[in-house]
Symmetry: D2
Subunit: 342 residues, 4 copies
C-alpha cells in the first residue's frame, strides 16, 4: 500500500505516519516528490486493518497496490484448480455443462429435463427449489418436495445435482439431496450465507452479483474458502448496466480477467445474462471461445409451460444442438467436450 | 398489461392469446394498428403469473402498465404512512435523526457516542454488531456483547436503537436488544431475510441495494409487508455507478420518486453514499431539501480511533453543527427538527 | 404507441386526447380497464412529434411500442446488408479484419504495420491522424501528414484504409486519402458530425458510444443514413460500467441483438474494450463466436515504442496468431476468413 | 506517479525503468517491499507521455497519484473563480439563475419566456437554436432565425443569453447573438469543439457528459482553458445509470467534489436530470443546499404547446415559486439570491 500525503504536509506529519506504521511492525519507504511525499508500506497490510491512516494529519489518500484476497488468488495457488465432484472434474481440459429447468415443477418435468440434458452431454442437473423472486406474488419453489424430485431425476440419469440455497435453513434441507450448492447473484455479498456454505463442506457454484466487481467477487469467495472449503466454482451471469436490450450485460471479459487473477474455475450462465432464448446460442459460443470452463443453461422439457422465467429456457432440441456446437469450439481453444451418453 | 403482437401475427394467433386470457378470467381489448395488433389485458395481472404469454405464437413482447407492488404503493394507501416507534414518529412533520458509530467497539465508545448524538437532537442510536465486510479479514463486529452495550447506551440516554441484522440467527439475538432492525444494502434482495424481519413484527429500516431500481426496492419491501409488518422505513444510501469520486452515487432524485409512488417514509444515509466526511454536510442538506423524512449518519466519539469505515464517521462536534443546519432547512421545506435535549 | 391514462382520468380527458390524435390523422383504440384506460395510437407516430400528449389532462405516460429508427431497422430492410467497399464486402460470408496502429507516428511505422497486417490477412489498414485524447497534454496526431503516410502504406500493400474523423474540417482533409471514415465513441451522438459523414457519401465505421444504448445507437445511425449514405458498419467497443478491471465492458450480447434488429453489419473492437493486450485474444474469439462480421484490432510494429495507448496494441506476431485462430472459429459459425496474402 | 513492478521483476528490470525515467529528467525513488518493488516518479508526469512504461519488462501497472488536469485544478488556482459576464458574476456570493425554453420556437414564445424568467429573478435567458435530438425525425431547431429572436428577447428584458453550439459553423453563427456558449452533454468529449469554443474567447457553460467521470470532465475543461479561455462554468445534468425512474441520475455529490478539486463555478440543471416537471423543485432545492452556484431550468410560457422536451419544462408560475424557495435556502447556506426585477 502507498500513502499519499497532501501537498502541504509537514515533516512532523510524515514522521507521525511512519511511526504508526513501524509500531505495527511494517516497513516504511519515504519518497519526497516536488509537490508531495509518498510513503510506501512494506509488509502485510492486514496489520493495518484497525488503524485509520486516512484520518491522520497530512494524509491525502491510500492507494492499494495488491489485491486483498489471498486464498482465491494466483499468488496463493499459481496453477489452475481442478474441482473434483464425485469424479466429475471442473476446471480441467474437459468442459462441463450444467443444465435443467429454472424451477423444479413436478416429478415428470424434472425427470424429462434430466433425460434430455443427459442425452445432450450435461454432467450436472440444475433445478431451483427455493426461488428468490423479485415479487413475493410470483411462484416461490417446491422446497424439500422439489429436492426429492431433483435427486431422483439425477440418480436415474447418472447426473450430479446443483440447487440454489438461500439461508441456513435451506442449506440444512438441501444438504442430503444435492451434490453442489449454488449461491445466487442476489446473495453474492450475503457474507453470513457464504460462511455457512463454506462450513457445509459441499462444493459451491458461486454466482457473481449484478453489481459486484471482479475484485469484490474474489473477496467474497474468500468468505467461503476461509472456512476451509476450497471447492468453489465461479459463475458469471451478467452485470447490471444502463443497457436494457438484454436482462443483464454478460461481462465476457471477466473470463480472461478471472483466469489471470484467480486459480478458481469459471463457468458462464448465458440464460440469466440474455433473458431471452434467441441470444443464448451466441453467448454460449462466445463464453467457450473466451475460455470458460463450462456453462450452466436453463432447459425445460416444455418451455411454454414453465412457471418461472419462461422466456429464457431452451427446449431439449435447442440445447442438444447447442452442445454439438460447443464441442466444436472446444477443440479450437484446446479443450474438449465429451458426450458420454452418445 | 399490454401484449404487443409481431408484425406478421395471424388472426388465429390473436384468437389464441385472447382465449388464454379469457380463460384466466381476464378482460381483453384488441386494437389493430397498421403494422401490429396490440392486446390490452384488463384485470389483475397476477392471474397470469403462471402463463408464459411471451412464448405464444405471434407474441412480440409484454408491456407492463402498472407497478407490481401493492402494499407499498400509493394506490393501496394514498396518504403518507407515519411509523410510530415507541412514540417517535417517522414520516410526520418532524424530521428524525439516527446516528452513532459504524461498529460498536466498546461500552465507553457507544456510551460516548450516545451522549453526543442525543445532545445534538438524534432520536435513534445506531451501531453495528454484525458487520458484513467486503473482506473476511476485516473486523466483523462484537455480536451479542455489542448489542448489550447498545441497549445500555440507548436506555441511559433515552434513545431508541437500531442495528443491522444479517440472518435468522442474528434476528433472534438482536430481537430483545433493539427497537428497530436494519436491512443493509447487500441484503436488499435477500428475500428470505426480508420475510424473516417481516415475521419478527419489529420496525424495519430498509436500505436500498446498490444495484436495485426503485421499482425493485418497493417490490422487495413487499416481502416484508406481505408478512403483515407495515412498519417499514426506506433508506437511500447511494447506488453503484461508473463514478468513483464518491463511494456510491447518492440518488437524490429517488426521494421525490419514492414520495410519488409509495406511502412509506424515506430517510437518507449520506455517510455510506459519500464515503468521505468532507461531503456529508452537503449531502445531508441536499437530502432534507429534497424532502427526506430524516437522516442516518455515522458519528464516532473519536473518529481517528474507529475500527471500521473511519473515513466516513463524523465527530460529535461536526454532527452537532450539521443538526443545527438541518433544523434551518427543515423550516423552509415545511418540516421541523426538534432538539428535545436542549 | 400507447397512451396510459391516470387512474382518475375523466371521460372528457379521454375524449380530448382522442380528438387530438384524430386531428393529427391517427387512428384511436380505447380500452377501458378496471383501474385505468389505455389508448392505442394507430399510424405513424412521427405525426405526433409536435404534440405534447404527456401534458394533457389525465395522461399518465406514453409507452412506445415500435422502435423509432426506420432505415437502420429490419422492417425497412429484412435481409442483412452487405457493404461493398472497392470490392471488399463487409457483412457477407467472409469475416473482415481491420488492423493497424492506434496513431500514425511515422512513414516507417505505418508501412511496417501495413506489411504485417496484410500478411496476417487484414483487408483494412487503420491508423489515427486526429486523436481525441482525454487530456489536451497527450499526443494529438499527425493530421494531414499522417494521412499521406496512411494512404501510401495502404496502396503499397493493397489494403483499404480507415481513419477517425472528428470535425467538418477533418472530413474535408481525410476525404482524399482514405476509403472509410470512422466515427469514434466520443462522437457517437455528435449528430452534426454524423450528418456530415452522411453527406460525404464515404462508407462509415460507426462506433457505439460508451453510454449509448443499442436503440440510441441505431437511431444515431439514422442520422448518417437519412442523408442517403447507407454504407454504415457498426462497431461495438465496450460500454462504461462500474467494473474497472477492463477499460470498458465489451457488450458481447449486442452482436446478436443488433443482428436481430438491424440489417447493418457489426464488427467488434476488442482493443478498446479490453485496454490490455492480454485479454484481446479471448475477446476476439468470443466476438467471432457470437456472430460478429469482423474485428478491428490495434497492431503496432513495435508496441513498446508506441506514442498512444501502448498497453493495448498487439505485436505483428500476436496478431498473425490471432488471425489463424479466427479462421478456425469462422468455419464453426458458418463463416470464412481468407488470407489472400498467403 | 508510481510504478508497481511484478512479483518476479529482476534487478535489471528495475534499473532499466529507473534509467528511462532519469533520462526523461525525472526523479526516482525505489522502495522494495516483501513481494514487490515500487518506483516513485518525481516530477512532471507529462514528460512521460511518449514513453510506454507499462510495456517495459517487469512492470505490472502504473498508479497515478495526482490529477492530470492543471488549469482547472485547485493547485493552479486555490481560490474559487468568479466568472464575470457583462457584470453578472457566477461563482460569487450571489446565486445565478438561467432559464428559458428548451427550444426557441417563435418570437412570441421566447419573448414571453424572457419576460417571465426575468420577473422571477433569472439573469440569463436560455433557448436552443441548434438541437441535438436522439432521432433525426424530431424538431432540430430554428438556427440563426431563432438566435435573432433570442437576442431580441434578451435585450428587451435586460437578460444575458446562452445557447448550445454543436459545431464550428454554429459557433460562428451564434457568436454575434449570445453572451455565453453552452456545450451539451453529448459533446462533452468532442475535444475539437472544446478547443473551438476555447478559441472563441466567449464564456462557456460546460455540461458534464452522461458517462463522464468528474476527473474526465475536468480534463475536458482543460481543452477549453488551454486555449486561454478561463471563463468556464461547469454544469451537472445527471449521469447515466441503471435507474430509469428519472431521465438521468442527478449526481448531487459532484457539487462538493468539484468544489474540492476545482476552482471553477458549478451550476445544476435539474430539468434534464429529472426529465419530469414534478421532480424539478425537489432537485433544485437539493442542488442549492449542496452548494451549487446556480441553476439552469427549462421554462416555457405554455409548456403544453412546446415542440421539444415538453414533459420537463416548467410554467412561469412554477418557476417563480421555485425562485422564491431558492432564495430562502440560499441564506441558510451562506449565499444570496437577488430578484432585481421586483
Amino acid at each position: 500500500m502507498i500513502i499519499v500525503m497532501k501537498p502541504g504536509a509537514r515533516d512532523s506529519d510524515i514522521r507521525e505516519v511512519s511511526g504508526v506504521l513501524e509500531n505495527a511492525g511494517l516497513g516504511v519507504h519515504i519518497s519526497k516528490g516536488m509537490e508531495r511525499t509518498i510513503i510506501g508500506v512494506i509488509g502485510d497490510k492486514r496489520l493495518l486493518s484497525s488503524i485509520p491512516l486516512e484520518l491522520m494529519q497530512g494524509v491525502d489518500k491510500l492507494v492499494p497496490i495488491m489485491e486483498s484476497y489471498k486464498l482465491a488468488g494466483r499468488t496463493f495457488m499459481p496453477e489452475p484448480s481442478v474441482i473434483d465432484i464425485k469424479g466429475v472434474k471442473i476446471g480441467g481440459k474437459e468442459l462441463i455443462m450444467m443444465a435443467g429447468p429454472c424451477a423444479i415443477e413436478s416429478s415428470e418435468q424434472i425427470m424429462a429435463a434430466a433425460r434430455a440434458v443427459k442425452k445432450a452431454g450435461a454432467k450436472f442437473l440444475r433445478g431451483g427449489a427455493f426461488k428468490p423472486r423479485t415479487s413475493p406474488y410470483s411462484f416461490q419453489g417446491l422446497e424439500e418436495e422439489g429436492l426429492k424430485m431433483l435427486k431422483e431425476a439425477g440418480e436415474a440419469n447418472e447426473l450430479l445435482t446443483v440447487t440454489e440455497v438461500i439461508s441456513e435453513w435451506s442449506i440444512e434441507i438441501a444438504s442430503s439431496y444435492v451434490d453442489m450448492f449454488q449461491i445466487g447473484a442476489r446473495n453474492s455479498q450475503n457474507f453470513h450465507l457464504l460462511r455457512e456454505v463454506g462450513r457445509s463442506g459441499k462444493p459451491v457454484l458461486f454466482k457473481r452479483g449484478s453489481a459486484t466487481t471482479i475484485d469484490e467477487w474474489l473477496n467474497a469467495a474468500e468468505y467461503i474458502m476461509s472456512e476451509g472449503n476450497y471447492n468453489v466454482v465461479l459463475c458469471e451471469r451478467g452485470i447490471r448496466t444502463f443497457e436494457t436490450a438484454t436482462r443483464n450485460t454478460l461481462d465476457i471479459s471477466c473470463v480472461p480477467v478471472v483466469k489471470e487473477n484467480s486459480h478458481l474455475p469459471i463457468i458462464v450462465d448465458p440464460s440469466h445474462a440474455a433473458g431471452k432464448t434467441q441470444y443464448i446460442l451466441a453467448l454460449s459460443r462466445a463464453a467457450i471461445a473466451a475460455g470458460a470452463d463450462g456453462l450452466i443453461i436453463e432447459v425445460h422439457p416444455s418451455p411454454k409451460a414453465a412457471l418461472s422465467d419462461a422466456t429464457q429456457q431452451l427446449s431439449p432440441e435447442a440445447f442438444s444442438s447447442l452442445c454439438k456446437d460447443i464441442g466444436k469450439i472446444a477443440e479450437i481453444v484446446g479443450r474438449e467436450f465429451k458426450n458420454d451418453s452418445e
